[in-house]
């Protein structure tokens, strides 16, 4: 069947399976990805079907996982590594930033680094410390890396396919609290560009821009705003490096107002870059300054406070009202 309704988790699993079937050079690596199938079961059943040489349980050593993935890529493999949680990526950050990101440039283009780093990220699942963070800016800031995050099952399936096919290293942020959300996946579709944005809901009064877990919040906010007679457009950015500024600009030129929403701290976040660029590009179109809604400049709080920390419907709608009030 060409079209199926799947959870994001299952779509990712199907996508990995397809990649393993299609290209014998694709490898899955990470902690607990084999027998257990990953702590979120994204790699469930893959080792059983493709063996320990293709789906590799690794020592508990993140730098080692990424560092050896680089070596495997140099040997002609296409490793897809899983970092178990967002906050655990930092032991590997050196390898990602000083080695993985720069190998192509410093080799004057002779070396390709087709490595995908999957990271279940962001909050909302009541987890303990280091299990709920949104470090995307730290990667998007690094030349040589590409950074994406799907918000729905179809994108989860297709964007992961495209990331694995890319000869560039891709940091693939999976919104872990959306793993169980269902959506339609057309396995025979021609997918959107990996780095293009998508208008998730059309509107005329204001644009909400988001990616990953916040797209759903923004869609709910747009629906609530519609009940008050406000027409809010939602743009799913999908990619944080590069950012589809052309697509976003087109939306803002239609609506003349922009609010950017993400879970990561607002300060120097993806929203800051978007505010600056859209102000440059759309200065004469804007009816209000670009506003940002996001996390605070504080460590991610204990889970009992995360509902206050994370942008929810009310905080997004508040920003919508402030923008429309200009």
């Amino acid at each position: 069947m060409a079209v199926q309704k799947l959870t994001i988790a299952k779509a990712l699993n199907d996508s990995l399976r397809k990649a393993l079937e299609t290209d014998p050079k694709v490898l899955i690596m990470g902690e607990d990805v084999g027998k257990l199938g990953g702590v979120f079961r994204i790699t469930d059943g893959l080792q059983k079907d493709f063996g320990e040489e293709r789906v590799i349980d690794t020592p508990l050593a993140e730098s080692g996982i990424v560092g050896t993935a680089i070596g495997l890529a140099l040997r002609g493999y296409r490793p897809v590594v899983e970092i178990q949680f967002d906050g655990f990526v930092f032991p590997a950050y050196d390898q990602i930033v000083t080695q993985l990101a720069k190998m192509h440039a410093r080799s004057l283009g002779t070396i390709k680094m087709p490595v995908v780093i999957r990271i279940p990220y962001a909050g909302g699942i009541g987890a303990v410390e280091h299990h709920s963070e949104s470090p995307e800016t730290l990667f998007a800031h690094v030349p040589g890396l590409k950074v994406v995050s799907p918000s729905n099952a179809s994108d989860a399936y297709w964007m992961l396919q495209q990331a694995i096919l890319s000869d560039d290293p891709v940091i693939f942020f999976e919104p872990k609290r959306r793993y169980w959300d269902k959506g339609e996946v057309d396995f025979e579709a021609i997918p959107d560009s990996l780095h293009g944005s998508r208008v998730a809901r059309a509107g005329t009064d204001l644009t909400l821009a988001a990616y990953g877990p916040m797209v759903k919040v923004c869609l709910e906010a747009a629906a609530a705003a519609a009940e008050e007679g406000k027409s809010v457009e939602v743009v799913d950015l999908r990619s944080m490096s590069p950012i589809d500024f052309d697509g976003l600009q087109a939306s803002v030129e239609r609506t003349r107002r922009l609010v950017v929403v993400h879970e990561a701290p607002v300060f120097l976040g993806v929203g800051s870059e978007i505010a600056a660029r859209i102000t440059e590009r759309c200065f004469y179109h804007l009816e209000a300054p670009v506003l940002r809604v996001g996390g605070y400049h504080a460590p991610y709080p204990p889970a009992r406070l995360e509902d206050e920390y994370l942008p929810g419907l009310d905080r997004v709608l508040d920003a919508v009202d402030r923008s429309l009030a200009y």
Binding site: T58, S63, G64, G67, R106, L108
Partner: protein
Amino acid sequence: MTVESTAARKPRRSSGTKRQAGAASAAKAAAATAQTHDDAAPQLVQLLTPEGERVEVADHPDIAEFAPFVADITTEDLRGLYRDMVMTRRFDGEATALQRQGELGLWASLLGQEAAQIGSGRALRDDDYVFPTYREHGVAWCRGVDPTNLLGMFRGVNHGGWDPTTNNFHLYTIVIGSQTLHATGYAMGVAKDGADSAVVAYFGDGASSQGDVAEAFTFAAVYNSPVVFFCQNNQWAISEPTERQMRVPLYQRAKGFGFPGVRVDGNDVLACLAVTRWALERARRGEGPTLVEAFTYRMGAHTTSDDPTKYRRDEETAAWEAKDPILRLKAHLLATGAADEAYFAELEAESEILGKRVREVVRSMPDPDTMAIFENVYADGHALVDEERAQFAAYLASFEGGE
């Protein structure tokens, strides 16, 4: 510290560490460290003494395992190893001079480490793969990389300057120890491919303190990867001595990871060749990784930026000069009649030609094209890079006479 005494020792088995280092005061701890090093007087594989005499297996059974790996070495081979070391030292000296003349921004000299690099480098097969740090000029020479290509990054015209796949010699890696993981991953790939080639990761004593090196040991051990970890323990990590990196001899660390470690006289080119061949054979046979600690000495500065007189004693340097790897082999070649003064003069003339070429090539290296800033950032392109490239090109074109 017993650096000099241990290096000069004839090979013998370790007597093991009997003393526990558990003193509370700093002074006691320091004393215990020294004692620990002394007690653990390591096996040091040596086939050629500092005086240039061959070590006989009959007198030193410890080398019996390794000596056969150079049994095939002919007089001509010995001259070849000597030539490699002389040419490498000459190249290195030219580069140091060029830095002093302002032609290079920085240089990391290998002076004193020629035997460790040529001995291990000549043990390799063409299909083996090498992951160097940034001082492996002698290994690069053995791999057939044009030495002038090593100078681009130090002159500031590129970050590499050679195609790693041409000679199976990866780009220099500056972040300490990172490449040991790349080597291990590559070796995991070699094993997956069913190939019988091997991989060598070069690193220094300072790198042994890095987590990446420990992680590389772990991965290599658990996946039984065909990788040789070749540590050139040159006694100094910039100004930090080995006492600041380790409490037990480095080669012993391998045992805890589950593979063998060997300490070899790093100023003995023949011993380095033998031990590396032995380790490579193990890798090819599917017996997994090996740690080789080449016990050697960096005669010069860490790089042209530091001043070793501020952190080490002249007596130490002088003691190591007596163990010079080149003088050692020269003494051997002369004593055995394998080479005469005419040969050495001929070699001197050849090295002068290399020096002249190095000077000429470096001075004529063109600066990269300005737009190279934007090249190869991504393999598949990136909208932001495209945008910034176009903006920069327009900016340049805005000047009178701009392109």
